[in-house]
């Protein structure tokens, strides 16, 4: 059987602004005539295995591909190589002890996970955190959105052969690592939230360090844009690759930049605002074509918007306590626990028995860097959850991978997989 093969002509198609500046891609791949390839390689299917140990799978994802020549006929992902049973473990930990498990899921944006978990439990308990805590958490979540998008940008570029971008973005990530370290003492496993507040308030000079980062960071985004946005190789490898329609994207449950790149305006910060996000002035970038290029544009713009939110949050950062004034939730200050009998008993009870939650359940989701991060906690009135469920955005985004790459070329598999921004720690949990 002769094999039909599509060929792609590359045409030069620059779009210029009235001023003569380059607006759009200079090179666009156009689908050309199909032609028949040589008879003797026709119909030769092949089953190949990528991963679980492969640098381009961003962790321990394993893909089994059935290939027809270089075209993917079928893709079957296998996950679970990093399964750590976090949800089961959570049923044996009290509410505050679960916080360290959350940042091990998405180690690329740990503070978003810490905050999302604390917010879900606070909603279940009916605890309202202080104004300062709200703004601090917004700062931390937006900072980690940049943190995660930078990693995505660097690794996706490196998967497509652009090494320089990786060095630029990792230089900037290092600055955020430093901020993590000053705030929490850890670079990745931050564990910084507690039910009802934070492990500690922001250290002195931290905000100034963050402002310095933002000042230096925006020029780097601009520089990366000049490297990639109109780059012929980048455009050729990303435009029209791995595209998914808006309808399909909703049906497959995509969320975050992957969904918005398809043109669906669903952002939890706008649609179900938490922590006064409705009072911040920011835009949600929405794509049109749902391909890798639009996902790239969305994430680039989201980083700029996060900086906007960060600046507003820093301006409005109120003083006052960071933890709620509810002794049944929060540990007493160390000096009080050492000097005062009641505080010491109290400290002992909170540590040994844990905080109790009322009977009930709560679902809470935030817009994480990768999409909708849902936390579902069910309590029977004890100090441990009956069920702690994490709706990981990567888990559901990666499920749509076969849909996007079947019919594409083998080299596009790496590109599409990179463009989804997955983290296996959270997929496998």
């Amino acid at each position: 059987m002769a094999l039909k093969r599509l060929i792609y002509n590359v045409t030069r198609n620059p779009e210029l602004s009235p001023g003569g500046a380059l607006v759009h891609a200079p090179i666009v791949p156009v689908q050309g005539e199909s032609y028949e390839v040589h008879e003797d390689i026709a119909g030769e299917h092949m089953l190949i295995n990528i991963g679980p140990q492969h640098p381009a799978t961003h962790g321990v994802l394993r893909l089994v591909l059935e290939l027809d020549g270089e075209t993917v006929v079928r893709c079957i992902p296998h996950i679970g190589y990093l399964h750590s049973s976090f949800e089961k473990l959570g049923e044996y930990r009290d509410w505050n002890q679960i916080v360290p498990l959350t940042d091990r899921m998405d180690y690329l944006a740990p503070l978003i996970y810490n905050c999302a978990y604390a917010m879900a439990v606070e909603k279940l308990m009916g605890v309202t955190v202080t104004e300062r805590c709200k703004v601090v958490r917004v700062i931390l979540m937006e900072m980690d959105r940049i943190f995660s998008h930078l990693l995505w940008l660097g690794t996706t570029a490196i998967d497509l052969g652009a090494f320089t971008v990786f060095l630029y973005t990792f230089q900037q990530r290092e600055k955020i690592y430093d901020l993590h370290e000053r705030l929490t003492g850890a670079r990745i496993t931050t564990s910084s939230t507690r039910i009802g507040g934070m492990m500690a308030d922001l250290p002195a000079g931290w905000i100034e360090q963050l402002e310095e980062f933002m000042t230096n960071f925006i020029p780097v985004v601009d520089e990366v844009e000049t490297l990639l946005t109109n780059n012929a190789i980048w455009v050729g490898r990303t435009q029209g690759v791995g595209d998914i329609s808006a309808e399909d994207a909703v049906n497959w449950g995509l969320s975050g930049p992957n969904l918005r790149a398809s043109g669906v305006t669903y952002d939890i910060r706008k649609d179900r605002p938490y922590y006064d996000y409705e009072t911040y002035d920011f835009d949600v970038p929405v794509g049109e074509h749902g391909d890798i290029y639009d996902r790239y544009l969305c994430r680039m713009e989201e980083m700029r918007q996060s900086v906007r939110i960060l600046r507003q949050a820093i301006d409005r950062l109120p003083g006052g306590p960071i933890n709620v004034d509810d002794p049944r939730v929060i540990l007493p200050p160390k000096t009080a626990a050492m000097n005062d009998m009641e505080s010491m008993i109290h400290h002992f009870k909170v540590v040994m028995e844990g905080v109790r939650a009322p009977v009930g359940e709560s679902w809470f989701s935030v817009e994480s860097s990768k999409g909708e991060l849902g936390m579902y906690v069910v309590s029977d009135g004890g100090s441990k959850p009956v069920r702690w469920r994490v709706r990981g955005p990567s888990f559901i985004n990666i499920a749509a991978l076969p849909h996007m790459i079947e019919g594409a070329l083998l080299s596009d598999v790496i590109a599409v997989n990179a463009s989804l921004d997955i983290v296996l720690g959270e997929i496998d949990r």
């Binding site: 394993r62 079957i76 996950i79 473990l89 309202t128 009641e342 109290h346 359940e361 679902w363 559901i396």
Partner: protein, 246 residues
């Protein structure tokens, strides 16, 4: 310390958990007639009558309805398709085991992108009848979510095209880990778990569908663990592991 006094005052209430910050005085659930209204719940009652078994509001504003498990596709399909509700986004599909032989709840968390509305739908399945119709054909997002519930709780979703384990290995024989009767360390001893892990064959790393493809192609399976030779390497002979090293 500024809030030292608060700690003294709050000491006696520790067993009751945190006090609600919005000063709900006695914490009792509001009487059934006073539930906040949810447009879809009213419409569901009008459309399906008695099939809306229960309606709850939890954590302040979260509406939960219970429906009979045998009508799940019909009711969820109506919620997805009816023009005034349009729950087009399946946020989550999971299950909850409360333990003590109680029914396992399958939880559908829905969101309507056009109407900006949440709704949680639950079906209760008795432990001796863990079967329910799949919603794969309503939301493709349910594909992996149902596989995960099957893997972790043993709920069988009829009509799912590819229901197999997703997080645990295909030849995992210890049961369904998130069930309350499943011990944290697993059912087998550590020695047995190690023995099974080391004796996995190449076929154990592939799904039945892939085995079929390989068979149809007349091709040996690509080996996951090692380049070249069939089967897994004899890890017992690797330094540092020491099982069967003699």
């Amino acid at each position: 310390m500024s809030n030292g006094d608060a700690f003294k005052k709050g000491l006696e209430g520790l067993d009751q958990g945190p006090r609600p910050s919005e000063a709900a005085d006695d914490g009792a659930p509001p009487p059934a007639g006073d539930l906040p209204e949810h447009p879809s719940v009213e419409a569901l009652r009008a459309e399906f009558g008695e099939s809306v078994l229960r309606h709850q509001v939890t954590a302040g504003d979260e509406h939960v309805i219970y429906i009979p498990s045998e009508r799940n596709v019909e009711i969820l399909g109506w919620l997805r398709d009816s023009p005034e509700h349009r729950y087009d986004f399946l946020q989550d599909l999971t299950a909850v085991d409360h333990g003590g032989g109680r029914a396992i709840q399958v939880v559908y968390q829905l969101w309507s992108i056009p109407n900006k509305l949440n709704l949680r739908v639950k079906c209760e399945l008795p432990l001796d009848g863990l079967e329910i119709e799949s919603v794969f054909h309503l939301w493709r997002a349910a594909d992996w979510l149902e596989r995960e519930v099957f893997d972790m709780f043993g709920v069988v979703f009829h009509g799912h095209p590819d229901l197999r384990r997703i997080l645990m290995p295909y030849n995992y024989a210890e049961g369904h880990p998130l069930r309350k009767d499943f011990p944290l360390r697993g059912r087998f001893t550590r020695a047995e778990q190690t023995r099974r892990a080391l004796s996995m064959k190449t076929e154990d790393h592939y799904s039945p569908q892939e085995l079929d493809i390989a068979h149809a192609l007349g091709q040996p399976l690509p080996d996951v663990m090692v380049e070249g030779g069939p089967g897994v390497p004899n890890q017992g002979e690797m330094p540092g592991i020491g099982i069967g090293a003699g």
